[in-house]
Symmetry: C2
Subunit: 382 residues, 2 copies
């Protein structure tokens, strides 16, 4: 018998537990129907470190515990803090997100993948009808760059204060994320070919390719790593002559995401610029309510990857059964596909779940349904 | 007689000279009609420093020369380099933008202002009809932050390379840009009141205000300056109890710019984040073809401010008379309003030009017209 796959389920804060509950119901349904070798453990660790009398925040050895699992399914992190006490009130997302960044770093989840596809039934924010053709994958470098957390505050709080923040980029991490982008571009072209579809992208020297990687930097202002990214990209591109290459500056890329997003295929960006572009990508797919996300470590099987929807913890609607679990369910589907790399039955369950969520979305466009209602409707399709 | 106002006109690269020509014709028309005390000098300095045999690139003492003027009217900078020579080919915007950043820094143009308003006739990229109500002003810190250009490349070109880029933020520059934001919010509320309009913004403690400042950071990941910005904002807000305050993280801000941009009033952001948000703001107003921009030094009259459209030099259509001068003309109108702070006749000429450009835009929605045709149509309305 295949080895059991073990999933750590961390519902987190706010609407996290509600949407995760629906994900777990779907996992249960898929497991029993297909007799899948997988199990999960729930870690009820809300992130509110501010709430001193609360003992169940993420423990110090959280990463050690989670490392025993094949994947982490995370609901949402982010606790607004003591909202009734203005002096202790924290901005949403301000302190409670450390666990998220700790997991990404601790498990070297160096790829953050966020696809953008406007599925039938999802809200269309752009006026142009071609928005229906949006089909891109934004790949964010998830391990370094702007997020290294180095810097400080000199003369803190004084009128002469100087705050610094260091961005650190290594060629090793740059190469691996760019290479990952090229590999994904090839896979996407192959998947399209299987479905009998093709897309065409033009290179500067007049060649036509069936996939494209667009590298995003701000090299005209942030020259050091911008140049390194560009050189790494040009160098690696030689190994992928079948993939068209394209460069954008981050400001222009954001603009083009709104003006002509259907022209993109794979987009590779730094940690912060990728953060921004993936949020825009989420809008392009209909908004946070439907946008999946994952944090992957593709090369070290001892490190769990982490799957979380792009949305936050939405404390304002938490506990009311109003949150849309669609993004969480798409995320769960993506997790199963990932875990199924070595187990076709699990991968198939992932596609089954994806199709069920997509079908539910398409049939219920414009309706207002509660969390459980949507979860059940999806389950009924499995 | 009032002192003569002197404008340095720097057409720059690509389509710059074409659109600037229309701006100058409008300035001429306004000057002769209203007998305005202003004059201008043309500096034909394309930026192609790559082109070694060319002698007329921006000279070393360019800033000294420009400092003699009250304002700089810039067309566009950015030269793609020797496109026919792949080995020397530079990415568009890659090296030729130094003059732009040098001017901003050299003249301490610490405010970059880009309004977003979807005027009748401008292209609407968003599906929601409320896009017509978009009326925001994005204010970008233009003097430091991510753009200080500090950092380097260790072991350049090797697989062990490390590239660093330092972000440096001072409390002084942070305070002044935030204060500027609050002042603009008040001015906007007053201007609305004069037109008999009001907008309402709610504060966290349930108060209603007639204007709002939204501060953008990424303080959950870039903690040092994010916290300093937040503290400076909270501190200064006490002096503006009539202005509502709001915080956004940059990723969420970009998303909301697409999802509900009509909810924003004044937005204050750092140099890089402001760069991104102002490009999105340009899309919200109909795209680069109509979006004005200015780089201001509001407190040192010895330093010229610089006015440039948001668009680039568009080398692909340069010299063909196809470029839309609308953004350039709006930018020119903004320059006149700025220069008219002490001369009501010049300010009035700025409003006259603005109204003429807006009227031309409204009446010609969807038509394809050449650069000169649009310029003439606007002039005919003056
Ligand atoms: C919560 C925050 C630290 C995080 C990030 O910036 O990476 C989030 O925005 C995301 O995109 O996952
Ligand atoms: C050309 C570039 C350096 C510049 C910037 O990033 O400031 C441009 O994008 C802008 O917004 O004016």
């Amino acid at each position: 018998m295949a080895q059991k796959i073990r999933i750590a389920v961390t519902p987190g804060d706010g609407i996290g537990p509600e949407v995760v509950a629906e994900a777990v119901h779907c996992l249960e349904a898929l497991r029993s129907r297909h007799n899948l070798p997988m199990e999960w453990t729930r870690f009820p660790w809300p992130s509110h470190a501010w709430h001193e009398e609360n003992g169940e925040s993420m423990p110090a050895d959280a990463l050690d515990q989670l490392k025993q699992y094949d994947a982490i399914l995370l609901g949402a992190l982010g606790d607004p803090g003591p909202v009734d006490d203005p002096d202790r009130y924290l901005l949403p997302d301000s302190i409670s997100l450390a666990p998220l960044l700790d997991m990404r770093k601790g498990f070297d989840q160096w790829v953050c993948e966020r696809p953008a596809r406007l599925l039938p039934g999802a809200r269309q924010y752009l006026a142009d009808e071609r928005a229906k053709d949006i089909d891109m994958l934004v790949i964010r470098e998830n391990s370094e760059g702007e997020y290294v957390g180095q810097g400080g505050r000199l003369r803190k709080g004084s009128p002469d204060e100087v705050a610094t923040q260091m961005e650190v980029f290594t060629r090793r991490a740059t190469d691996r994320i760019i290479r990952y982008g090229f590999e994904q571009a090839r896979l996407r072209a192959a998947a399209r070919a299987e479905e009998g579809k093709t897309r065409h992208f033009h290179t500067r020297d007049g060649k036509t390719c069936e996939s494209q990687v667009c590298i995003v930097t701000k090299r005209n202002a942030l020259r050091y790593w911008g140049d390194m990214y560009t050189e790494a990209f040009e160098e690696l591109a030689k190994q992928y002559p079948d993939v068209a290459t394209h460069h954008e500056l981050v400001d222009a890329a954001c603009m083009k995401f709104v003006q002509a997003p259907w022209a993109f295929d794979v987009v590779v960006a730094s940690n912060l610029q990728g953060d921004i572009l993936t949020d825009l990508a989420a809008v392009l797919s209909g908004g946070m309510g439907v946008a999946p996300s994952c944090n992957l470590n593709p090369d070290d099987p001892s490190m769990p990857s982490m799957f979380e929807p792009t949305h936050g913890s939405a404390p304002d609607i938490a506990g009311q059964g109003l949150a849309d679990p669609t993004a969480m369910l798409f995320t769960t589907a993506r997790m199963l596909e990932w875990l199924g790399r070595k187990n076709p039955a699990i991968a198939a369950a992932g596609r089954e779940l994806y199709d069920a969520v997509a079908a539910d979305l398409a049939e219920n466009a414009g309706t207002t349904r509660g969390t459980q209602e949507i979860g059940k409707a999806v389950r009924d399709r499995l």
